[in-house]
């Protein structure tokens, strides 16, 4: 053993190197890495915080607009979110609480997105061939001339 002192030293040195590597690994691998797969889970929360959701859902609208919410719930558009036509919540109510008048999409193209006659849609779903349904040019806010969007049934 007396003549193997250098071996002991080199083995100790290797152990120190390995220990440093393992310690470095401990610092370098993020804590939430591998929690749900080969990625850093904390990144999900960080991205969520960076990107504030633009849409808030009908419940958020109801807090200030109870009458419109009641009308919507009573009508056939009860499953259509307010933000589909009125735009995202975040564009209406800013982060500092100030309110901006939203840009409402009243165009016939928005209505046609769901109600244009498409063979693949269920037969019971209200859908029309626009050119036959509308007397006159199909343009602008032509649908709203007859239908109330909150309760569109005539």
């Amino acid at each position: 053993m007396e003549h193997a002192r250098h071996v002991v030293r080199v083995v100790l040195l290797v152990m120190v190197v390995l220990a440093v590597a393992f310690l470095a690994r401990g610092f370098l691998v993020p804590r939430s890495y591998g929690m749900y797969g080969p990625y850093r889970y904390d990144n999900v929360r960080e991205q969520m915080n960076v990107r504030r959701p633009a849409h808030a859902g009908p419940a958020a609208c109801e807090q200030c607009h109870p009458d419109e919410a009641t009308a919507r719930k009573a009508g056939v558009h009860r499953n259509v979110s307010c933000e589909v036509c009125h735009g995202p919540f975040a564009a209406h109510v800013k982060e500092d609480g100030s309110v901006v008048t939203p840009t409402v999409d009243r165009s016939y193209t928005l209505c046609a997105r769901c109600h244009r006659k498409v063979d693949g849609r269920p037969a019971g779903f209200p859908q029309v061939v626009l050119e036959e349904h509308v007397s006159g040019p199909v343009e602008g806010k032509v649908c709203l001339g007859c239908h109330n969007p909150h309760s569109p049934k005539l």
Binding site: H6, R9, A24
Partner: protein, 407 residues
């Protein structure tokens, strides 16, 4: 000049992303494994004819290993992330294997180099003064014991490390073949033969490099290369070249005989885009010619004059180096010339001259290990110890046959 695209190629198949640097990566790694095989033949298998180059082989393997990850760093950019592949390997990636095998082999080789050169380190520490002494003392880890008992311990450690190092070197280079062999979407790469071919060609490149290096170093030192050593190198080079060429041909022959759906495009690839690099360079200039030259050296060994033997062996070794480079090129670049449609080919790849992945950088990568080798020689001295007057644990005592000692 063929058109940019011939046949039907998918739009995302027309780029050669794996550049010249990815050709250099297995080429340089191959030298590491090949040179280590030579040093193991002496340290592990008692082939005493390799004694004159055992230390040169180990130093060469070490020098090339230090450069082996450079092509990858140059290809990927972000060199600061390079060490992470060793410390934080991502086990869903095949490259995790590189991190583990490279760092493991580096550790083994560093230890083996340290044990083999320890007597020189100690002698230089004793002879030097000032900062130089501190440097060598630090390298010697503060212990100056190079008595017969300590050298005996060193010899045991070297044998043990060579025993671990040889499979590690084989794994390191077999793994490089695996990286390509495991890409199942590419029929030119996806074959279980790939790691074996890479390993055999690594032995060819390593032995060939040592042959050339030994001749050059001997001339530079004003001596003549040891002829039994040259003969032994030629014999082993011939053996591994036969293995490599046989396996490379078998791979093609099996594909051709099977008439698999991919053969249509691979045969076109080999006879059009890779005609020069595959048929001319890999098979004829780098394969057939050195095969014949080495056959002459091996089969007519006793009738050859020293100069003829040296010349034939060196020329054959140089051609073998060309063969292995062509093989790496044909695998790496060839696999990217064919479209996944298996019905189209892109124009041959021409690497840029300047730039991070250019030809000049590739030349610099090839020169770098020799610069490291020169520094190694300046710091520790590569020459066998009898020339410098120091005893070495790598050298079995004269009264015991090396074969017995290493058993």
């Amino acid at each position: 000049m063929p058109p940019e695209i011939s046949g039907f190629a998918f739009p995302n198949d027309v780029h050669v992303w794996w550049s010249l640097m990815i050709v250099m990566y297995p080429y340089i790694t191959g030298f590491v494994a090949g040179a280590f095989i030579v040093t193991s033949l002496f340290h592990l298998f008692g082939r005493t004819e390799f004694k004159p180059i055992a230390r040169l082989a180990m130093a060469t393997s070490f020098s090339f290993l230090l450069v082996a990850s450079m092509p990858l760093q140059l290809h990927l950019g972000h060199p600061e992330r390079g060490p992470l592949v060793m410390i934080t390997p991502h086990f869903t990636s095949a490259m995790a294997g590189f991190g583990i095998l490279y760092s493991g082999y580096l550790l083994i080789l560093l230890l083996e180099v340290w044990f083999v050169w320890r007597p020189e380190i100690v002698l230089r520490a004793r002879r030097s003064r000032g900062p130089k002494r501190a440097f060598y003392a630090a390298l010697a880890l503060g212990t100056y014991d190079i008595g017969p008992e300590a050298l005996e311990v060193d010899h045991g450690a070297i044998t043990l490390l060579a025993g671990i190092g040889l499979p590690a070197a084989c794994m390191l280079h077999g793994y490089v073949g695996f990286i390509f062999g495991a890409i199942k979407a590419n029929p030119w790469w996806s074959t279980p033969l790939m790691p074996v071919i890479f390993l055999c060609s690594a032995a060819v490149s390593g032995i060939a490099l040592l042959m050339v290096l030994y001749q050059v170093v001997s001339k530079l030192r004003g001596g003549e290369p040891d002829q039994p050593c040259v003969s032994a190198l030629a014999r082993w080079l011939w053996f591994f070249l036969i293995l490599t060429i046989t396996l490379e041909l078998l791979e093609i022959i099996v594909m051709a005989y099977e008439r698999s759906e991919s053969w249509l495009i691979i045969s076109e690839l080999l006879t059009t885009r890779l005609e020069f690099s595959y048929v001319t360079m890999q098979l004829i200039v780098g394969g057939l010619i050195p095969l014949i030259l080495l056959a002459v050296v091996v089969l007519m060994n006793r009738y050859l004059h020293e100069r003829v033997r040296n010349t034939l062996s060196t020329v054959a070794a140089l051609l073998c180096l060309v063969q292995v480079f062509s093989m790496r090129w044909n695998i790496v670049v060839g696999g990217q010339l064919l479209s996944k449609s298996l019905r189209g080919l892109r124009a041959p790849y021409e690497p840029e001259l300047f730039g991070r992945e250019g030809v000049l950088m590739a030349i610099a990568l090839l020169v770098a290990p020799f610069v490291i080798l020169w520094i190694f020689d300046r710091v520790l001295g590569i020459d066998p110890p009898e020339k410098t007057g120091a005893a070495s644990p790598a050298e079995p005592p004269a009264d015991v046959p090396a074969r017995v000692r290493s058993a």
